[in-house]
Amino acid sequence: MSFIKRYLLPRLLQYFLVIFVGITVVFIVPRLTPVDPVQEMINTITQRGAYMDPEAIEQLRQSMKEMYGLEGTVFSQYISLWRRLIIGDFGPSLSQFPTPVVKLIGISLPWTLGLMLVTTLLSWIIGNILGGIAGYFSSSRWSAAIERFMMVLRPIPYYIFALILLLVFGYVIPIFPIAGGTSIGLKIQFSWKVIADLLRHAILPALSMILLGMAGWFQTMRLVMSNIVREDYVMYARAGGLRDTKIAFNYVIKNAMLPQVTGLALSLGQIFGGAMVTEMVFSYPGIGGLLYTAINAGDYNLIMGITMFSILGIATGALLVDLLYPLFDPRIRYR
């Protein structure tokens, strides 16, 4: 019972708070700027060369204002934003009128989810294993060598790293496709050919995310590890003459995992940002790719929808990781 009160309820509250803060920021910040998004969008459309007579523009303005809930007081606008969020209605896409934004997101979501899930897990596992070993033997020479390699890898922004991979493996040594999620015209069905094609297209985006993500996990794990090695319970186990492998697995790694699980929950937002950038570079058909086309088409509605949707998605993801945490830490489970 106290577990629910002490751990579960605060997490759930936190979950709603993240969504609340995120949506509120999305609502407030554009309103703090002197920009009228509707006017801005009409400008974008007219700039693109579409001729519209003033009357049509006025009509468009009116309908858009309604759609964004820019009618009425600020408070009623805010309420209507929440209402639309709860019923899952982000309106139609402007660039692919009249397809609803929700449908477009629905099409892209499996791609991003698949890419993110696989790369996040792989980079987390590989980074933690490597970092763990390097931290456990932190005085050895090769540990320092890997550390130096990761130190160079870590600060490279996703965009530049993905670009470099694209250049090397797409143009210089063209062994991987440079864009897309599948070969053009491929029908998605369950066969080895399709799976192989999907994997071939996913390798470069996945590789860029795994390598950069791994560097980050490696470094924190190495630090956590080299601190835990000096913890009293590790010293005590060593005094007890336990074998090194036993100490490493049951005493060091089990404890070092804990901050890394919390870290995973907290960094999901950043990982998601990285996934978006990667998808944009590789024209991957996920949420990031969709966002990129939305930016280029000036599809404010789609951008707004994706932003709100990602806040929901990331908060949910973080909540799920947090709910897994008690499995690792008995101090949370029993009191």
Partner: protein, 332 residues
């Protein structure tokens, strides 16, 4: 018959301050002879090198701590073996089997993410082959706990679910489960309240009298020493300055520092003003030349400033390092 000897043991911390090496002389030329079937107390103020001494006795020497000189010998199979000459494998084997350790502050020595049962299992399996878990592990451990008056249910608890006193008793049970010849206890009662302290001290005494082994007990609390120790060594600034039986230390302290230490203890019926040694213990980086205690000693002479007195036998079984009793100097 001694079970553990040291000869001229020197263990320093080496610290690099802006490229300049500094030595913290935490254990400086210590000779010990600890006997079979006794409780040997090591006393002294905090920062006098007690904890470093027992780390070195236990062979847990990791940088920045370094053994500069001297030997630590365990008596095994009627022979004395130098532990710093052993390889890691041998070292690992004799730990817990031959010499075990009760840590200071049990708060963080038990792995927080595993049940106490697994601590017992790991510690035992590291040294014994267990084929029949029920017969060779579970039953003996439960018997052991019952013998020490501990509830068997603690095996299925996580450390954070136990009280501080219970955790400390678990470490006593762990340290004795393989019936080692020597047990080193590092301030085992410091973190506990007085009632708990009594329980743990009594437990240690009982363990010793049933196992007939040796306990090296380190604490700054002279009251505990009076209660438990057979012989006591007094440490000051990295050196052993007096060693005698408990009655002698309390009844006839020789070294002025020991006299201050004993004199500051309250006694029933005694209403006199208690004095303690003036000043503070010296830095172990730049200890005073000569006797380490002379700046705080009201009986210091010029000789005390010039040379270090050696720990020599003044009366049978009573050693002291003070020029008031003997002129023997340490050769340096």
């Amino acid at each position: 018959m001694s079970v553990l000897n040291t000869e001229g043991l020197k263990a320093y911390y080496i610290i690099d301050v802006l490229g300049e090496k500094r030595y913290v002389r935490a254990v400086d030329d210590v000779d010990l002879e600890i006997r079979e079937n006794e409780i040997y107390g090591i006393a002294g103020e905090s920062g006098c090198g007690k904890t470093t001494l027992i780390k070195t006795l236990f062979g847990m020497v990791e940088p920045p701590l370094n053994v500069m000189d001297g030997k630590v010998k365990y008596k095994m199979n009627a022979e004395y073996a130098d532990i710093f000459a052993m390889d890691n494998k041998r070292m690992r084997e004799i730990r817990w089997e031959y010499i075990s350790y009760i840590p200071q502050g049990s708060m963080s020595v038990l792995n927080p993410v595993q049940k106490v049962r697994y601590s017992f299992e790991h510690f035992i399996k590291a040294h014994r082959r267990i084929r029949n878990k029920e017969e060779e592990f579970i039953k003996p451990v439960e018997r052991h706990l019952q013998a020490l008056g501990l509830p068997v249910q603690i095996l299925d608890s996580y450390p954070h679910q136990l009280s501080g006193g219970m955790r400390q008793r678990v470490t006593v049970a762990l340290a004795t489960v393989l019936q080692p010849k020597i047990i080193i206890a590092d301030e085992p009662t410091t973190a506990l309240d007085v009632v708990m302290q009594r329980g743990v001290i009594q437990l240690l005494k009982d363990v010793q009298s049933s196992l007939k082994n040796t306990i090296i007990m380190v604490t700054h609390d002279m009251g505990i020493h009076a209660n438990i120790a057979d012989r006591i060594g007094i440490m000051y600034a990295g050196k052993m300055i007096e060693e005698a039986s408990t009655e002698e230390i309390f009844g006839n302290p020789l070294h002025p520092y020991t006299q201050y230490l004993i004199g500051s203890l309250p006694k029933i019926g005694d209403k006199s003003y208690k004095t303690s040694a003036p000043g503070a213990p010296p830095s172990l980086i730049n200890p005073p030349e000569g006797c380490r205690f002379y700046p705080r000693c009201d009986r210091a002479t010029d000789e005390c400033k010039a040379a270090i007195p050696k720990l020599v036998e003044i009366e049978p079984g009573h050693k002291a390092a003070c020029f008031l009793y003997s002129g023997v100097k340490e050769d340096e």
